[in-house]
């Protein structure tokens, strides 16, 4: 048992899915134990794989494990499907399997009593299988398939309560929006394949490294240099934009909160939405080889997303949506890190984000479970009733803000550091501003939910900490959130059996020793603390300062509250442009193509028949005349043509 058997990791949940789908109805408890056992198995399987992988490595010189099977075979076209294990994969596997396990355990209590309890676990198993496949895929086709698979699961789970109109709409919106990104993703994959002739990721890297994409051209556009590759990776990035909710395709993620909260924690925080980050990290060699514009775009979109989501988070009142904005915020940072060339920072942030964001969601889930409210205007003062939840939520909040020494700090610091080093100062400053705003709205969230007096006494009255099945995952996650960031240190890594700190395990090109940048740390910590203090000023007690600020900056408030009117703009485009176009085409089809062209030519035949039939006048001399005319015509033509 070693890395060669890594395919078993997704196979277990897949098997669970099939069992639950076919026999779930007949199993006790809807078969939740099957799903949990499967994902636990996957999690446990990770260890032999990891040990094997580390054993094979020589210091920081890691040997990826790859294994594939033939799938489609043409004369000179072959698709092999298989898996590929390297450092990034292992980080992702860890996040996915661990968080999935915890979330499923949590769900046992959270979803108890739901009429579709069994279906929930069925979907969860399918999701786990797809996500793990996505992570392990050694080839872009399989990656794409799994990518669509997780999107589909997300669709199913967002729309889990499809009887609610809003859930059905949100599920649809999520699927279609990500699908738009996927258009680009698939085009990108095909562009790469077109030149490289393979879907295998490593082979594409080799091909690119050999300069295979140099001077490739698309149908006579006259591309030269790295232009082809740049276009291809930008198309790939479009997929990431959709999946990871980057501007301008971020609109689906806040709406996706219609799903059950554990789903939000797993899919829309810890795992699926980071697939875009993972994909870019996985394909990073290509991004580096491409023209600079590629990574510039990644950085720019990431930063826009960061600032946008942070500001929108300031005014949002739905507890889950605030966390969703914070997720967008974090995802944006990860892309900023990638755009700045630091895979290490991105993957580190991804790792710890998985813990603290899942924590925040699950904790908010406990709040919702307890109070059946999720609007922070109706919450407050819950710390007294739900001390454990409040505590872990607080840890999560601080980690998100980036307070030393919680895990978020180290990760955010790496990102800022990379930005500082590789990008110009304006971007760096913008990022620092975002740190402040993040602190501001996360503080607001915590204060309005847990501190001061409750605005809705009914929900508050019967609120209490959840049962242990739900609390236990929270505590575990809180612990990891607290200490998880320490993996950046070499000694911690070595203690765990790695060759060094996180940077010496996950890196692009060269291992990076952890390098604590005091300047960055001081700036960011100052801003974070400043944000907390400001947040306390604005939202403590009755939140009067916040109200006044909101009134003073009414237009700004409106803009933020309406999410920069982007959703409205999209809706307008869909209603006014897309549907109008559809109606227009349908009208054209019916009236022009069909009624005019088709029926018209048929009508022409009928009309010709109608006109021609009057030749038959019924009068004998006319008939004779026709005969004579025919004879003369024949005779004249015969003679004329002959002579």
């Amino acid at each position: 048992m070693g890395a060669q058997e890594a395919y078993l990791i997704p196979a277990l949940p897949a098997a669970a899915f099939v069992i639950l789908l076919l026999f779930g109805k007949y199993l006790p408890r809807g078969g939740d134990f099957v799903a949990i056992a499967a994902i636990a198995g996957s999690f446990l399987l990770l260890f032999p794989v990891l040990v094997d992988f580390l054993d094979k490595a020589n210091g920081t010189d890691f040997v990826p494990v790859e294994k594939s099977w033939e799938w489609v075979q043409f004369d000179n076209f072959e698709i092999r499907l298989g898996f590929f294990v390297d450092q990034i994969t292992i980080v992702m596997l860890a996040v996915v399997s661990f968080v999935a396990l915890l979330v499923q355990v949590y769900s046992v209590a959270y979803m108890r009593g739901d009429p579709k309890y069994g279906w929930y676990f069925t979907c969860m198993s399918l999701f786990a299988a797809s996500m793990l496949t996505l992570v392990l895929a050694d080839n872009l086709l399989l990656l794409y398939a799994a990518w669509e698979g997780v999107g589909f699961c997300s669709f199913l789970l967002i729309g889990f309560w499809w009887e609610r109109r809003s859930a059905a709409e949100a599920a649809k919106k999520a699927f279609i929006t990500t699908r738009i990104g996927d258009v680009g993703f698939l085009i990108g994959i095909l562009l790469l394949w077109r030149e490289a002739g393979t879907f295998d990721i490593t082979e594409i890297f080799d091909f690119a490294a050999r300069g295979g994409f140099n001077n490739a051209d698309i149908g006579g556009l006259g591309l030269s240099g790295n232009a082809y590759l740049t276009i291809a990776v930008l198309f790939l990035f479009a997929g990431a934009v959709g999946k990871s909710g980057q501007f301008p395709l971020h609109v689906w993620l806040p709406d996706a909160m219609e799903g059950p909260t554990p789903v939000s924690a797993l899919i829309h925080a810890a795992t699926m939405v980071v697939a875009g980050v993972y994909m870019v990290a996985r394909m990073f060699p290509l991004f580096v080889l491409a023209d600079d514009i590629a990574l510039d775009v990644v950085t720019a979109l990431g930063l826009i997303t960061v600032l946008m989501s942070a500001t929108m988070g300031l005014v949002e009142t739905d507890i889950k949506r605030v966390i969703a904005y914070s997720t967008l915020n974090s995802l944006g940072l990860m892309f900023v890190a990638l755009g700045s060339g630091s895979v290490t920072a991105a993957m580190l942030y991804l790792l710890v984000h998985g813990f603290f964001k899942a924590l925040l969601f699950l904790a908010s889930g406990s709040v919702i479970h307890a109070t059946e409210k999720q609007d922070i205007r109706e919450l407050g003062g819950l710390a007294a009733k739900m001390p454990v939840t409040a505590a872990v939520f607080g840890i999560g909040t601080l980690a998100m803000i980036g307070v030393i020494p919680l895990s978020g700090f180290w990760a955010k610091d790496e990102v800022l550091h990379a930005l500082d080093q590789h990008r110009n100062v304006v971007l760096y400053i913008l990022a620092l501003i975002s740190v402040f705003i993040t602190a501001l709205y996360m503080t607001r969230l915590f204060i309005r939910t847990f501190l001061f007096e409750a605005r809705d006494r009914v929900g508050w009255g019967h609120a209490h900490d959840a049962e242990s099945l739900m609390t236990l995952p929270l505590v575990l996650l809180a612990a990891l959130t607290a200490v998880g960031g320490l993996v950046v240190f070499g000694f911690v890594g070595e203690a765990l059996g790695f060759p060094g700190g996180f940077g010496e395990f996950v890196f692009f090109a060269e291992p990076e020793k952890f390098d604590f940048a005091w300047g960055v740390a001081i700036f960011s910590t100052a801003l974070a603390v400043g944000g907390i203090v400001a947040g306390w000023y604005f939202w403590s007690e009755k939140a009067e300062p916040a109200r006044r600020a909101g009134e003073a900056l009414q237009p700004v408030y409106e803009t933020l509250y309406n999410r920069y009117y982007i959703d409205d703009a999209y809706q307008w485009v869909i209603n006014r442009v897309v549907l109008t176009l559809g109606a227009l085409v349908a009208w054209f089809d019916r009236n022009i193509v069909n009624d005019t062209a088709v029926d018209g030519s048929a009508g022409l035949g009928l009309f010709a028949g109608f006109e021609l039939k009057f030749l038959e006048t019924g009068k004998l001399p006319n008939y004779a005349l026709a005969i004579v005319a025919g004879v003369i015509g024949l005779a004249v033509l015969l003679l004329v043509l002959r002579l």
Binding site: D75, N76, A168, V183, G219, V585
Partner: protein, 501 residues
Amino acid sequence: MGGVLFALVTVPLCTAVLIMLVPSRYPQLVRYVALVSAGIQFALSLIVFFAYEFQGGRGLRFGFRLDWLENVGFLGKNGISLHLAVDGIAAPLVLLTGLVIFAAVFVSWNISYRNKDFFVLLFLLVAGVFGVFESQDLFFLFFWYEVAVLPMYLLIAVWGASSNFGTFVRTKEYGAMKLVLYLVAGSVLIFIGIFATFVEADRGTFDLPVLGQVQYDSGFQKAVFPFYMIGFGVLAGMWPFHTWSPDGHVAAPTGVSMLHAGVLMKLGAFGILRVGMTLLPEGAEFWAPVLMTLGVIGALYGAISALAQTDLKYMVGYSSVSHMGFVLMGLATMNDIGVSGAVLQMFAHGAMTALMFANVGALYDQAHTRDMTTFGGIAKKMPRHSAFWAIAGLSSLGLPGLAGFIAEFHIFVGTFRAGYYWAGAAGILAAAITATYILRMLARAYFGPLNEKWESLREMRLGEQFAGALLIAFLLFMGLWPTPFIDRISDTVANIPGITS
């Protein structure tokens, strides 16, 4: 084994005669005869598919020949013969036909008005379809093609439904007449193509393998290919010759829609491949950009039109236009991947569109309306039905794991390989639009709170469920393990002249 193919043609014909002999006072007996016969056909088609042997390269399996006319007039040896055989392209389509007719009989079980006539005509249709897929003789290919068109008028006009859409009306007579005339108009062009090919080849035979060996003059190929392309293209729903399809489907009864969209439209694309591209590779190459353009327009146009429909059958009808656009794109790539993708898409689309029509029919039988805006939340009342819809829809939007993805993926790969980047990109976009209209429909009609008007809806009949499950089984089969299909198809496609690899 050639007998299998002959049986596939004769069993439905004999069933038609047999059913004609059953006194009409035993409608139940008619149904059982139909069911048994359809079952036999399904079994035989399974045999054809699975007993297909790989011999490497071109080669026809299950060869069967009955002399029909030879050494008379302008006909020489084997002039016209009932030459039946399948290759790797035909085998999956034969399977598809068997599958869909089996499902269609279940779905048509409750037809009580002249159910005898219905099954007679239905089996006549099926005989024609099997015949086209199996024929290795140009005359008989066309013969069966027309046999398949022959019963359509009555099938639609007698058992169909007229619809009033407020701003316009589509009567079943109109739909039926337009469909039949349009298809026959297409066959006019095919006729001319066949005449010209026969004269040009000057071999005194319509035997396709023989005609395939002839080296046709390049100018001739360029002149004649469009006749085949448009002639067969009409049946394939090629834009702008597609309008018979949505209107015909709206008018047709469920079982007929299933066969029609599921199988009959494939005849067109199959004809382009089997006759046009195989005989006239240079002509095909010359016209490929046009075919590609029409395919792309069809794919986008159909998808966008479907977006605007509120009638479920219109939506599915336009989605067929869109998906057949993919098939044409695949053919136009002229390379083995794209063409294989086209054949795969024929199968995939056949199964899923049959499923969609079965679903629409099941709903219409109860609700007597197909206007999706009047529904809402009916997944609560018809969970399995909804699941079937979702699976068919997901397959059509190209979700991995279902048949549609495999097919569309091959087509897109083919377009990129052939250098039609724009076409590939447009096709992928069309697939995304497909997602939009499918999900829009599901969200509107099936999800959300239950519209109280539909409290009385029940789950669809067991027979319909069985039919649906059968079709889904094949969608999954191809989606998860496409190798049997791809092996058969690629085995043959690579050896079609003019197809690059």
